[in-house]
């Protein structure tokens, strides 16, 4: 019953079934919870950002170029993800998959740069998460975001496979739409990380 398309329905496929509508609504609510989850990490970071315990500070560590490239990669991936869903609405399965793959590659590029940044801090600057409270909160906040992107990448691979296998159905389009929401949300989080962690950290 929940998987039935109502007769005469004329909108996007992912909203065609009650199951689809419920899953999308549920995911928006989940995103509300994720806002709160990240806010705790931000609160921790803001409170602890000055507690460098004699170790490396944000001004010493953060590099403009790396931060800018990561930001552009993720921002562009959010754009390409939007294009993917646009193609999905045009019922263009090939376009959807291509744009999703591009999104995934941009996301993996972002992850590669972030891991490179972390390794640089840990192995070349002696800045680990055990060095100071500031570094603990930096690594856990930015790292949690990175872990979310990693999980999202794995999830996106699984969705791409299902799209190839099953084409555009109410179920597969719903799954693609939801992972799109997740991906955009991660870019939203990055906007705050960019502002509160990197921008602030480079001048304060």
């Amino acid at each position: 019953m929940a998987a039935h398309v109502d007769p005469g329905y004329k909108g996007p496929l992912e909203y065609a079934t009650e199951e689809g509508r419920m899953n999308i609504l549920g995911f928006w609510i989940f995103l509300g919870a994720e806002f709160v989850l990240f806010s705790c990490l931000f609160a921790m970071y803001i409170v602890l950002q000055g507690s460098t315990a004699g170790g490396p500070t944000s001004q010493e560590l953060f590099e403009f170029k790396s931060m800018l490239i990561q930001t552009l990669l993720l921002l562009t991936s959010s754009f390409t993800c939007g294009l993917a869903i646009h193609e999905m609405r045009r019922e263009n399965k090939k376009g959807l998959i291509i744009w999703l793959i591009i999104t995934l590659l941009l996301g993996l590029g972002f992850l590669y740069m972030e891991i490179e940044e972390f390794l640089l801090y840990i192995y070349h600057e002696g800045a680990t998460w055990g060095t100071s409270a500031f570094l603990s909160s930096f690594f856990v906040l930015v790292g949690t975001h990175g872990a979310h992107v990693t999980l999202g990448s794995l999830w996106m691979i699984s969705i791409i496979i299902q799209l190839v296998q099953r084409g555009l159905t109410p179920r597969t389009t719903r799954k693609a739409f939801i992972i799109g929401l997740y991906w955009h949300f991660l870019d939203v989080m990055w906007i705050f990380i960019f502002t509160i962690v990197y921008l602030t950290g480079m001048v304060v």
């Binding site: 609504l25 998460w129 100071s132 409270a133």
Partner: protein
Amino acid sequence: MRLDEFFVTGDPMIYAADVSIVLTIIAIVAVLTYFKKWKWLWTEWLTTVDHKKIGIMYILAALLMMFRGGVDGLLMRIQLAAPDMKFLESEHYNQIFTTHGTLMIIFMAMPFIFGMINIAMPLQIGARDVAYPWLNALSFWLFFAGAMLFNISFVIGGSPDAGWTSYTPLASIEHSPGVGQNYYLWGLQLSGIGSLASGINFMVTILRMRAPGMTLMKMPMFTWSVFITSIIIVYAFPILTVALALLTFDRMFGTHFFTVDGGGMPMMWLNLFWMWGHPEVYIVVLPAFGIFSEVVSTFSRRRLFGHHAMVMSMAAIAVLSFIVWVHHFFTMGAGPAVNSFFSISTMLIAVPTGVKIFNWLATMYKGRIRFTVPMLWTLAFIPNFVIGGVTGVMLAAAPADYQYHNSYFLVGHFHYVLIAGVVFGMIAGLYYWWPKFFGFKLNERQGKHGFWWFMIGFNLTFFPQYILGLMGMPRRIYMYTNADWSLLNMTSTIGAVMQGIGFLIICYNIYWSVRYAPRTNEADPWDGGRTLEWAIPSPVPYYNFSRVPEIKELDPVWYAKKRGEKLIDGPLEKIHMPSNSGVPFILGQIFFVFGFGFVFGWFWMVIPAFIAILLCMAWRSFDYDDGYYVNVEEIKEIEGV
């Protein structure tokens, strides 16, 4: 790790517990094998996605946890019955009060409310299950994994002993070097994930699965309470997730969030913990308020007074609950500006609660009251909860709180609100909805005995504690020497024994009724049911509603009955149902292994378990099973048409 570190040694009571655990496991396996019930267990319970069965499992777990938590409470009361008692060492006492608090709130109250919500809410809105039945099952098995993890601690590795609040720096690795705290962190983390998922599940269910015609303002009050509770859960539990994770990182990976050195701020633990912890107490009490609304209305034979006000007051409570948390640590030095703000916000939250009390009283006024067991629990709730509530307003005055904080006055306050609020509500709900799910009522006479023993015992236990607090007795002390405190403490202990007797009578009540109570199988056993669950057969068929009714008003069953109308009417159609699945159960067990490994720092166990979890999630993603249909013939047979 040495074997005598892995197993808790040196205490005869622990050895006795080890023996009884092993014997119980053997007994369960023996009974299942002898009666050839393994397949039944798997197909009917372990793989179910049916909200009714999941609810029953939650409630059973809650009752078992209430037993263990209650025993902990009794042990404490024995130790404190007289000055200079040597029944429990301080170490042991600390573990017991930690276990008592954690079990009662996280592993008794939470599953109890989830159980009640699961069994009753979908029926009240005319739904055939919740929005995400598979996720619902997963939530239960995650709770189960967390509970098992926490419960095993006292025999394997050692119990946590830093209080249910686990304050840093005491709970940090320097001051709590054993694995006990890790059990606390992972037990709560796993069941917390389950809770968050349930919150989302219930919200979507209520928003999208109501029967046609049932607008939000035509929903029963219990369902409203579930909706508001779910909102609080969704926004509060992520805070707990982060707090627990950060402390885990501190303990296991050397980070400095809450440490004394390295720039850490132990006060941030309290800040985060209570930002979750205060909404948490409203999470457990609001469904109880919802149950009270149903019971008061049914057994006064009157519509609930002030429907809108009841909804608005719960919404106000929900919003306010997020801005009062500092009242748990007024004395920590946040300063007068902070303390003033939170003092005022805390006092404010008493207002909507008071509105609800007056509305319940107004419902009863000029009603034809029937003193059934659920009604007795509800009637007892009102004065007892008010006592707890007004002492809460006293505590809210920050300067005064400098005297009350962490004294027995506080202990008296929170037990009055939690027991008279949550426990009374859950027991009322248990008695009220029992006949709907099992086809027979619990014996009224025994129920009344249980009620009186428990209620009087409860007052005897906790009222003296207010006075003890004012006399200067601090909480969480394992022993006292002040002879002036002995009489009140002894009274409190006697009360605790009476509560224990009351609980045992209730358990016996359940056992006796299962064996001997007449199976009347009425749709409306209380002869006054007002909401949709009373329109369908008892026990409820697995698909709930043979036809989904069209709703026109509040209390639809009551008014339909008065007009002689049939609510459940119309042609029968095949019904779509979700398939059972073993994956939630298996995932739960894998999470247990993951948590257990993490507790001991055994990453050779953690990493494979983590990979297995990812694989299960992938399995689920590729699972396109679409359920099955119940055909009309079968529905006719079940309904006796």
